[in-house]
């Protein structure tokens, strides 16, 4: 429900919202996990699709400044990622939810999110209200004072989302955020994403194609370390009009078609 129009606090940073990756590649040992990624975006919600091992998580980790790629240039929010000062400024405005994260079992939900809000260098007098806002946005008001160890998997995931959004980040990276969420929660999550689309660049890695179709302005498909498709969800759907293709929905068929096409070419 809404009592009045929610006015989101606008970030005062006039810098560019979006990412700029050029020729980015990475390997673990001798396995190439990413090759020649070129990606420029502005604000919006971007879906990252692809089979396991396609490189989605690696790409997200590079965007989250967790990982420095073996080669290529990475610019985030209009800043290079070379010097410590730039990295700090980017990280203040960043939110990241990895696929798995540990948690302090004895922290309450509030304390956990507050801890990371502080580590993100949010102004201390704004932290508590921001944490409460994040908790409400993910629907965990009833569990705000519960210990983390008492939460279900889906709830833990939502805590993860909350810590990622608590600082209203301009760059938000979510790796499989909807795992463990029931359909109603996923709908609300998509609303959350759409709210952020105007003022942030949000990257969502997921294997749930429907999530992508519903909330994402652009979709990227990865396979075997390469970006094999970058367009709108609409475009992907258009590629899936042939009923003979495998898949239960047009977008799934489009996804399958692009993958198959790419593998044929190799």
């Amino acid at each position: 429900m809404a009592l009045a129009v929610k006015t989101r606090t606008q970030n005062t940073n006039p810098g560019h919202i979006g990412v700029d990756l050029r020729g980015v590649g990475h390997r673990y040992g001798r396995t190439t996990v990413l090759q020649d990624i070129d990606l420029q975006t502005g604000p919006g919600v971007f879906g990252l699709l692809g089979p396991n091992g396609a490189g989605k998580t690696t790409l997200l980790r590079i965007l989250a400044t967790v990982l420095k790629p073996a080669h290529g240039d990475v610019a985030l929010l209009g800043r290079a990622t070379k010097d410590a000062h730039d990295l700090r400024e980017i990280r203040r405005r960043l939110g990241y939810l990895p696929q798995q994260f540990g948690f302090y079992p004895n922290f309450t939900v509030f304390e956990f999110i507050e801890y990371f809000a502080l580590l993100k260098k949010m102004p201390p007098n704004r932290v508590r209200a921001a944490v409460a806002t994040a908790i409400e946005r993910v629907g965990l008001e009833d569990r705000a004072r519960s210990k983390m160890k008492s939460l279900s998997g889906g709830m833990l995931r939502r805590v993860g989302i909350a810590q990622a959004i608590v600082n209203e980040p301009e760059l938000l990276l979510l790796d499989e955020p909807t795992v463990g969420l029931d359909p109603e929660q996923r709908v609300i999550f998509r609303t959350l994403l759409r709210e952020m689309a105007e003022t942030s660049a949000v990257f969502v890695s997921t294997h749930l194609v429907e999530d992508v179709a519903a909330a994402c302005s652009e979709v990227m498909l990865m396979d075997d370390g390469s970006l094999i498709f970058h367009g709108t969800a609409h475009d992907l759907v258009a590629l899936g009009q042939n009923d003979d293709l495998p898949g239960d929905s047009p977008i799934e068929r489009g996804y399958g078609a692009v993958l198959a096409g790419n593998r044929e070419r190799r």
Binding site: A4, V5, A64, Y96, A132
Partner: protein, 262 residues
Amino acid sequence: MSEHPHLPPDVTEEELAMLDVNLERPWHGVMGEVWSRPVGPVERLARKAFGSAALARVLVVSPLMILAWIIASALVFALGVVVTQATEQPLIPLLAPALAAVGVAYAYGAGADVAFEISRTMPVSSRMILLVRMTVVFAICTVLGGVASLFAPAIGGVTALWLLPMVAISMLGLAVATLTGLPALGGGVALLVWSGIVMQPVLEARREDAAAPVDLGTVVSESALMDHAPLYLAATVVCGAIVMWNNGAFGRPQEDARWHWR
């Protein structure tokens, strides 16, 4: 809301419709206060001392994170007191460095393990967090050791010089932990090295005279500590530099984690 049964007579529907107040913001402010615990005096002091609310919070929650180690250390020291009173070997200054090294490795592991990936995206540097946690470990170890010393005064007096080996050995363990990515290995190596240091004069005395009484306290006697002080200091500095370098200081790029937890 279309009906407002609780409106007082002086407030009209038009005024409500034209209201430009954000009613969600105060609500979030209220719940933020309701759900949080007020900041304690220690944390407030730490905020001013560090100039960072984040590091102050790290300080205050560290004991909670390493509670298992605190309890274990208290028990070990207590045991040490009993054994010291029975055997008259100065166990407390021997135990302190060992326990501290284990504590530092444990704190590193606990902190690194939990929410590891997320922590690496924080603007607050992990080096500073590590430093704060280490300081907490040393402080607690010193306090516990100090209390234990009250009950088991060592022969020849206990000096605060055992802080030197405590810091040096802990740094060694931490260096191994950060290089290998295995905190347990770091703690183990530190214990081994310290045991070696402690046993070395004992074994040497035994070699010279098979019937010599075992005096574990040789290494922590005031003279021995003073003699070895430069060595301990050097070890601290070198290992400290390794730890810093491995965590991205001195321009070294952050590498991907070579180890994964659960």
